[in-house]
Symmetry: C2
Amino acid sequence: MVKPHAVKGTPSQQLPDRRAVLKTGAALSAFVGGASVPSLSMAQAATGLSLTVPEWMKVQGRGILSPPYGVPSPFEKDVVRRQREVRVTDTAATSFSPLQNSFGTITPNGLCFERHHAGVPSIDPDRHRLVIHGLVERPLVLTMDELMRFPSVSRIAFLECSGNTPNWKSVNPDFGVQQTHGLLMCCEWTGVLLSTLLDEVGLGPEAKWVLAEGADAAAMTRSVPIAKALDDAMVVYGQNGERLRPEQGYPLRLLLPGYEGNMNIKWLRRLKLGDQPFETREETSKYTDLMPDGKARQFTFVMEAKSVITRPSGGQRLSGGPGFYEISGLAWSGHGRIDRVEVSTDGGQSWHEAQLQEPILSKAVVRFRAPWRWDGKSALLQSRAIDETGYVQPRHGELVDVRGVNSFYHYNAIQTWSVNPDGKVAIHVA
Amino acid sequence: MVKPHAVKGTPSQQLPDRRAVLKTGAALSAFVGGASVPSLSMAQAATGLSLTVPEWMKVQGRGILSPPYGVPSPFEKDVVRRQREVRVTDTAATSFSPLQNSFGTITPNGLCFERHHAGVPSIDPDRHRLVIHGLVERPLVLTMDELMRFPSVSRIAFLECSGNTPNWKSVNPDFGVQQTHGLLMCCEWTGVLLSTLLDEVGLGPEAKWVLAEGADAAAMTRSVPIAKALDDAMVVYGQNGERLRPEQGYPLRLLLPGYEGNMNIKWLRRLKLGDQPFETREETSKYTDLMPDGKARQFTFVMEAKSVITRPSGGQRLSGGPGFYEISGLAWSGHGRIDRVEVSTDGGQSWHEAQLQEPILSKAVVRFRAPWRWDGKSALLQSRAIDETGYVQPRHGELVDVRGVNSFYHYNAIQTWSVNPDGKVAIHVA
């Protein structure tokens, strides 16, 4: 077992070695005063200055339990979910996670993206029921208390809306990574394997699909193949150590690791076994992919390998001038584990293997990092993910050559951020 | 690589097989109507009842971004941090995490326990500085922006106050697991390895200890051995995917994986290298262990292997009558990975190996689970952890035989919950 902070991947030959960079005066001038070895007198002066006792050491701080359920620092008030564009309604809408301010792999519950079709229902857990019926031997009605007595499992898994990054035809030059990739979260989920419940009810021999229905006013419904239901599907009530948040399906949601977000039905009230897909609105009118020949791909469940650099990213600035910066981002694949991530600073002409933070889990986001010495000139930053199946995240042109530009969902091409000589980072408009 | 929801450990021979339990009428009568195979007509009747459209499906739910930084369901309003006893002051106080409501391994940031000695300072991150000085070649003063340019790492690690579970002399019969074990959290931390920073400043040949100082009004200080500083110590700014919360040290804290919580200095402002320990109040007057012979153990840094059953636990109730229940809890060791956890339902006369949730990470909590068929009689529930060093969590008597009863800190003996025939669970008073 490697140590949890161990990293996978070899530092690139061409990207700079950190120690060499930090120890020459060429980089991190803010750290070493621009000299190749800082003079002790300079450092001492600086030390004396900063050991001045700040005002917050001179008074007692705020008391305990204020509040009993904690909230972020007021200095982080801008790190919140946001809309991408002006919304038509307030209850069929979307909010995006601030990936530009993300660390590690876990998305905190307060920042998980939202997508509702009829708003967030307020559900009394004591009155909520899960019904399992249709082609089963023994239909079941479960209260939450009953459901929580079943054997439970936990796993870390990502959830991505298949409408994340709809860059088929164009990009908005003002967008940062929150707007382009913020329909992504990764959490530790706890609940009951769906296979446990299906074992309890007894599957009929003709049962091939499961209809999942939500208890919101949209009565959101999707069909799930029985193979997925019996593999790693779960009904979950816990998210990152506590009960689901209302906007994530409190008190119960379906979790289909690696499948498009829309199928992970929130406020889950019903599972009906059938012998064919149920052809609901969300798998006919929506969540299909219109191909160049006029036919539509249907039941494209698995979110394919994707990655994005979160720092530096659009809207940020390399404020320290030329020198050392860490390039950091997220990679994920609905097909399993990420095998490696490569990073380019020249728009894809050359690639360097990034370091991956252990543990690397199947169908969970992976944090990748690559050291970079910025020379102060224009640069084009890219990342590409390769998963355990050998699938390589495509370039925009490669994806469009196959799928055309009529789709809205399932865009997973390489994202490019441009760095200008003044340090400003923005989305790259080809 | 095992699947993330894979479990380690073999189901016990003596604890019941779940399927057998669920499929007989002896357990889970709420699920199967008390019959060994429920009649379809019963189930259909129940199904028809529950497919009634609930009131929350008839109206639009609340809108998007309400609020932009999310909060738990109002139905979970009692799942908060709490005090154990009446406090003397509000700024030198402690609050406890509600472990009885925990799921999986991650503690959400809003529920992480608090311990302050002079309240929570409100620190402007733009004005905060980290000074590294003393026996170093090149003293450094770092702004947060500068620090966040260094190569970063993430890891999941537990933090436990060494004053957690001070059951040396007695227990309070009214305490639940929040009061007995709630000074425990496990989070994904992101920051810079301390070894990276020490490499940058250059260690003097005499440097053997590091003094860490907090920027609160208590100016909390502790001495850290250089071996730990160069091993896995970190200065962290990220916690569970976002910036540290104020009560956890915003904008910067020390993280010493596996070491007692008090040493993980919050609001970190200074690291001073010296040739010997600094003998601060927190390592002389406090955080030492008074032995029976009148001598005190000092510098007992590592939190030894420990575990506790969180569900069912004191204050809860087996509300469904005799039948199947899952026993679930947490295990951790400051020395590395948990090797196995054993569970007893007869006060330690017999032990059964629990299942451990993968991934099992070094110096992180592990979720263990064991199936249990309650026969409706009195029972005494216990768990004991064994870590990768072979260390076995001791019984109370074994611990007291060695350490006496004069200590306050570092109690890690086996916890016992009693189950009464009426289903009530309470702390066991020997």
